[in-house]
Point group: C2
Chain length 338, copies 2
């Protein structure tokens, strides 16, 4: 066991892209669990776009990380010492323990992971928060019906890839948008998407229109920006837009130049009777059992596939995180910590 | 009976505000009903903001009026001659007969008006399309719960005034936004709104914030523009925004200057989990019986009140219509034609 606890704290709030100076690796003593507590050792750390929001002081749906505070994040951790009646040494748990080697928990918020089940790291991806985000956003807000066209951006990521696969399982056409030919080939060849478009292609907007000859009925919004601009004119009457993320804007330091296109967007909402709705996964917490049963079943049966992008070493988390915001990852980004 | 049929046709498509030269008053022969048809004489013509959209060639939820075509509009008309088995001379009907003295109908789309019921012109207002717009948009999309705050703009108009009154009947707080002190006084003193704000007041945004100390849960969008800008920061998590109209933008000839604030709006949708949804009244056509029963009952019991702004003479419709788009009307604008 490592004699020190390494932890990555927020050193400064980024204005724009997170860079190395916004993080600091600190070493400290491994904490000791008190009565009723467990000591957790991080095995896998999840890196997710929402963390960019927590680095900023702006009001959002969750409190920002404080300067000097450990970066937040879900982990798969192993109980390395227990003074808690419900947990024994070696148990695997899902924890909100952040970017560090060790942490102490009183058990609240832990969820046990079945060591005989799927690979533990899937609890951070297809069977975890990203998977449930895809499942609930698509089915509770997007509500595709057979034959409809579902478009999703960041489609090679953990949320988008599941959105498209579930859309197909529900009888809809799935059109994915991703960055680069390799990711696009993965969507169509490995995941069965009906079409995939590279948003870096200069002819992207036209290609999207050709890939959606019957328009778009559901646009699962992960990215915002230029992709949304290309989608908006293609939305059909009564289209649904679950707004899950806006990753293209997370590092924006200023608004795009004018004109102000809010009236264009609102006119489309009115005349096409669009439904735009923001959500976060916890808004649908009561769907967790259905999600685990249904997506877990699809995964076992090979009807959905999930890809991981594994980074070795906690110290590499900041660079991997910054890369993810630029679309560098290919699959669910996880850090193998121990 | 007038020996001629006066009709107001679209002479040219306006770029910006409709002006006299965009309309033309034509006189023609009174048409003769064929077998199975009725001749209708217009008593009341409804003037509504949606008609501005029909004057433009841009794609919307309904086809534009053709150049030289009679301006569209709902009327309360009297059957002045009948060769239709279901209608007799003197019957009152709701018709889509447009801006003219006479028209012929084969009966399709007509709805009989009970001469013993409320004043016939209410079929164009509180018991007609505007009333049902308020009822369905508020209850199907806004869904206010007791104690929530409902804000509506164009609140002294036929849609907004009913939105606020229904919100109160459902136990919510109603805050109205209107143009000028007279309309604001009407909202609070006559209709029982909890507060009313004048959007022309230079301190409007601050006043709105003070009038909504617990934020805004439902914003019924009739106008867009600066009012929406003031509302957006006050929206609570999970607020609902039925998008019914954007009258402040109907005469826009160019987009407002930058920056482009679409990212601001989308970020609010995401972080506050807002639901924005456009609708037109016909999307909820199956609610018509409930609407007529419930709002009809409230009207009889004096629980809702409706105000009309009556203009005399078909020839005055263009000027009255242009004035309405600038907020000049005070209550449901109807033209007394005959």
């Amino acid at each position: 066991m490592s004699p020190v606890n390494r932890r990555i704290v927020l050193a400064a709030r980024p204005h724009g892209e997170p860079r190395p100076e916004h993080f600091r690796l600190e070493e400290g003593r491994v904490p000791s669990p008190g009565e009723g507590e467990v000591l957790l050792r991080t095995r896998w750390l999840s890196l997710d776009p929402y963390m960019r929001g927590r680095m900023s002081a702006a009001k959002s749906y969750a409190r920002p990380v404080e300067i000097g505070g450990v970066m937040v994040g879900q982990t798969v951790s192993e109980v390395s010492a227990s003074r808690h009646p419900d947990y024994g040494e070696g148990d695997l748990v899902l924890a909100e323990s952040g970017w560090q080697d060790f942490s102490v928990s009183d058990g609240r918020g832990l969820r046990r992971i079945d060591p005989a089940g799927p690979a533990p790291s899937t609890a951070l991806g297809v069977l975890g928060m990203p998977g449930m985000t895809a499942y609930t956003g698509l089915l509770e807000i997007g509500r595709p019906t057979p034959g409809e066209t579902v478009v999703v951006a960041a489609a090679a990521g953990p949320v988008g890839s599941l959105v498209g696969q579930i859309a197909r399982l529900k009888g809809a056409r799935a059109v994915g948008i991703a960055g680069g030919p390799e990711k696009c080939a993965y969507l169509t060849d490995d995941l069965g998407f009906d079409a995939a478009l590279d948003h870096r292609d200069p002819g992207f907007a036209d290609a999207l229109a050709r890939a959606c000859p019957d328009g778009i009925d559901v646009y699962f919004e992960n990215v915002g920006g230029a992709v949304f601009d290309a989608v908006l004119p293609l939305l059909n009457d009564f289209a649904r837009v679950p707004v899950c993320g806006l990753v293209s804007g997370y590092n924006l330091t200023e608004l795009p130049p004018g004109p102000d296109r809010v009236p264009v967007l609102m006119r489309a909402v009115l005349t096409k009777r669009l439904a735009l709705r923001g959500f976060i996964v916890w808004d649908f917490a009561d769907r967790a059992p259905d999600f685990l049963r249904e997506v877990g079943g699809w995964l076992r049966e090979g009807k959905v596939r999930a890809r991981e992008d594994v980074v070795e070493g906690l110290e590499n988390a900041p660079d991997a995180f910054a890369g993810m915001l630029r679309g560098r990852n290919f699959g669910k980004l996880v850090v193998k910590v121990a």
